[in-house]
């Protein structure tokens, strides 16, 4: 089942929804991501990519946030239909 596979957030396409499984970043970046709402089970939706392809805009906890690829590869998510 591909549904239950954990993939990096950076692989989600605009319009895709996901659920946070784990934040793999370490140190201050990890702390910041946790504070911004990337906790287990948090729902998110990828809104769009910036015109130059990076960073990405997503909606989490009801607000809009942008992340660089550097950060989004460290966040494991599960795709949600």
């Amino acid at each position: 089942m591909t549904q239950n596979l954990s993939i990096p957030l950076s692989l989600l396409q605009p319009g895709d929804q996901g659920e946070v499984v784990q934040v793999q970043a370490q140190g201050p970046i990890r702390q910041r991501l946790l504070e911004m709402g990337f906790i287990r089970g948090a729902r998110l939706r990828v809104e769009k990519l910036a015109p130059l392809g990076d960073p990405m805009e997503l909606v989490i906890k009801g607000y809009h946030l942008s992340l660089r690829r550097e950060e989004s590869v460290c966040i494991l998510v599960q795709r949600v239909a």
């Binding site: 702390q31 910036a50 946030l65 942008s66």
Partner: protein, 723 residues
Amino acid sequence: MPMVIALAGNPNCGKTTIFNALTGARHHVGNWPGVTVERRTGTFEHEGLQLEVVDLPGTYSLSTRSEDERVAAQALASGEVDLVLNVLDASNLERNLYLSTQLKELGKPMAFVLNMVDDAERRGIRMDLKAMETLLGGPVVATVGNREEGVEELKTLLASLARGETERCRSIAVDYGHDIEGELRKLEGEIQRDEALAAAMPPRWLALQLLEGSPAAQATLATSHARAAIGQQLSKSQAFLEQHLKEDVATLVAERRYGFAHGLVKEVATPAAEGKTPTARLDAILTHRYLGIPIFILILGLIYSVSFILGKIPQDWIAEGFKSLAAVAGDHLPPGELTSLLVDGVIPGVSAVIVFVPVIMILMGCIAFLEDTGYMARAAFIMDRLMHVMGLHGKSFIPLIMGSGCNVPAIQAARTIESRQDRLITILVTPLVSCSARLQVYIVIAGTFFTPIKAAMAIVAMHFLGLGLAVLMGRLLRSALFSGPSSPFVMELPPYRLPVLKSTVVHMWEKGSVFLTRAGTTIFAGATLVWFLSRYPGIANAEWTEQYLQQRQAVVALQLPQAETDSRLRDLELARESRIVNSSLAARIGQKVSPLLQPILDPDHRRPEAWKDVIALTAGFVAKEIVVSTMAVIHQASDEPKPGERLSPLQVSLRDRSGLTPLTALAFMIFTLIYTPCLGTVAMIRREAGSWGWAGFSIAYGLVLGWGLAWMAVVVGRWMGYA
């Protein structure tokens, strides 16, 4: 002693609007001790009580990872603050409440402002304030900050709290689960053995921070006499928790806090209605894949025009006004030291400060507008990819582009960059962007030594060189000064909002006045120093003054036509100034220093007067455009072309007598571009970077880099066969 209220909240929650609504004009902007984070304090009176308000930096948490968070956490933990007023964005409650859970841990009485309730209501969110008060353990007031709705009610609440009616404030703590709570209690017990430590910071808060692995908490611990015992307990607790829990403490703590926030929101608020928000509709265009960049460039062009084309009009008035003031003073006062101090020192010095004010106010107004509407975050979102390649942040783009108008407000514009590293690098590379003052020098030099087409090409090349160097130095500084990963780009894209005119105007006024008081003194002192160096000892030579007066009288006695007399008098004045400047301390320094510049300005040792360039460059430190007027004095030739001639007398003199060649002229232009930021920029760097060290560094690296590149230009040029 008035009660001190600290305003805490997330960025973009409308905290500053609440602050302005509470205190009105009665506030003061300064810096927090030791850092460049702005500190706003103000007072207001209500029901005969005087209350003091401190606006803390907007933060998402108190984990003390950034400068802003450290400042906020320190202020909150200190005894200075009596009450915490937590401003919450009603339409983004859950994330806003994360900070609230941390604020509650600090154990101070708290009240809450549910701000921008109109936004939330428009999205169909209904909220139960009574239930919220019960769950949060503190009174809640709903407000619409930008319309000042609910502000009177808030003032009344704060006054009642100041009178000691705090029974509505109860302590409420997030439950971190059996294991963590148990270890927290053990740690608290150890902390309480050191009474001073326990008094300085709530023990539970300190224990929690230690478990989360906060470096700031470790630093606090290091000052305690009980550090050994506490440290031992901490290691034991960490080992225990690592075994019993599958996740690390930081994750579990964050999960519990969000759990609390999520539960609370479910309890007190109805969910938002489905459907596209106005922000989403706007973003569909403004950050569109193809339209986003053109729109951004359009907005940037508009701001640039308003700041530097519209702003140039009052700037010219000010410059002209001071020039005629100096001319009038020079004509009516007897020549001598005091007159020179006034005419050549004080008046140009004051002028050099005040000319910046219109552009600063306009540009800062535009930037405040972008920030307040929420577009600034989109600009950063659009440009980040490009800027990231340069080792910079998306928000660095606007300061860099604005630098081509004037570096001084551009450096101030770097304030919008949150991370200190990114801000510092942007501040340090912005002076490399060629500004409009340097353009005036290029026009004179390139116009003298090159054909019009080549001159234009050389001038354009200077601008590209500046930008290219900014990129290169950005990368270099990033890897040399701040090894380690660049700060994370986790940036909120806040909803678009219509800014309040009042707060934009207040912001503009603050920036202008802060510049006048903080940077103004530095610029003024520097201008006076350069005046001193370039006028002494000649200006004090009574014999010269006597001769000059006699010559003037002789000219007047000839009774020539008025125009002829004026022209001869001007020549005499220029000759006198030239004599003074060319024998001044600056000239002596120039003679000492010129061997250093020989490889770039006189590679063939054919220019006995190369030292004169040093005087012009020294004077150019005050403001780059002064290089030209100083050259006019040194070479005793006016920089105004006579009617019908392409070259001014100064340019003719430079071409025929200075010994500069097209190649060394190019080197001179390159050196002028880089050698040092002007005084205004240096003063601004010192203010924005927070230390003289960085200001000094910017001068030093400019000199080295400028010399190196000019030298390379000469070497490569000669190798290619140019003279």
